[in-house]
Symmetry: C2
Subunit: 193 residues, 2 copies
């Protein structure tokens, strides 16, 4: 084994070590509590050897989260009714936010930082969510429940936005009654008929 390969292997061991320590810290103290110093201590490395690999605290956390990401896809419900499918989908979205990794990703997304891997993960997650919503809406169109002219992307944002707002801003409860109310509003609109 050449010394370069040995150095590379040691480098990878340090890297894995630091990422695992960062993830543990994240699970213990939350995304706002993780410091480079506490990760360095837990990993048994010097702070400078972390800063050599990750320029900022946020980049370290992003890599730690993305190296151990929970499953991104949600089982698409198929109850035979668009209303019940959408309520179940919103409940799954909300449930997915209770995972510490997914929650950390969401909190990182609210921070004024630019991290390519984070942006890439955000796009991948949005694509997953788009596919799920599109599947449900297309089934609804095929059954004659739903207008064929709905913009799927707008539909995704209109339904998910209020759930994100409760979790991120108002911290109010997200229960089935709330989700059913949102879906009914979304299906029927508010016009007098």
């Amino acid at each position: 084994m050449s010394s370069t390969t040995g150095g590379h292997r040691r480098g990878k061991a340090v890297r894995d070590n630091v990422l695992t320590a960062a993830l543990n810290e994240l699970l213990n103290v939350g995304v706002d509590g993780v410091t480079v110093a506490s990760v360095a201590e837990a990993a048994g490395v010097h702070v400078t050897s972390i800063y050599r690999r990750w320029r900022t605290r946020e980049q370290l956390i992003t890599d730690a989260v993305l190296s151990h990401l929970d499953p991104l896809s949600i089982d698409v419900p198929d109850t035979g009714s668009v209303r019940d499918d959408l309520i179940a989908l919103l409940a799954s979205l909300d449930e997915s936010m209770s995972s510490p990794q997914n929650w950390a990703l969401l909190r990182l997304a609210t921070m004024p930082i630019e991290i390519d891997r984070l942006e890439e993960a955000r796009r991948r997650i949005t694509d997953e969510r788009m596919t799920e919503v599109a599947t449900i809406l297309e089934r609804g169109v095929a059954r004659g429940e739903i207008s064929p002219h709905v913009d799927h992307r707008l539909a995704l944002e209109a339904m998910y936005g209020p759930v994100y707002a409760r979790r991120l801003l108002t911290h109010e409860e997200v229960d089935e009654a709330y989700l059913a109310g949102l879906v009914d509003l979304f299906l029927d609109g508010i016009r007098a008929r």
Copy 2:
């Protein structure tokens, strides 16, 4: 003047000084960049005399923002059409987020901190927004445009949620076409008719 009053006046002068410095820092570097050390330096006081008055960085920022809050109420548009009123209202909401103080309040709300004054401000702002939405919807009901059975609170969240999600999470543009699309979805729903 008794020495107690003098002490009280000096205390208030320090307090005002620190809050002004904190607000300036906030405007310069954003809510994530403000540190107690930089505020202390700008205010010409010792860090400990800040921590004597504010237990945490976040409490200091909250007090700084709330001591110089931009107007909370938005002029309620009255165009004669619910659709145009709602688009204008969402545009005002979005515009209000471009104020550094309002933006700081919003970012503070996403942080896992509990600050009574922040919670109180959030409630006051929600009440303002509720009154505005209710005024527009009630006019719409009176003109026969809108169903009288709409839950105003749910309507508020359904319309505002997607705008907050763009600003806080995806950082995508919020333009008039986007807002009009949301309002049309909200008015008409997605059911086949």
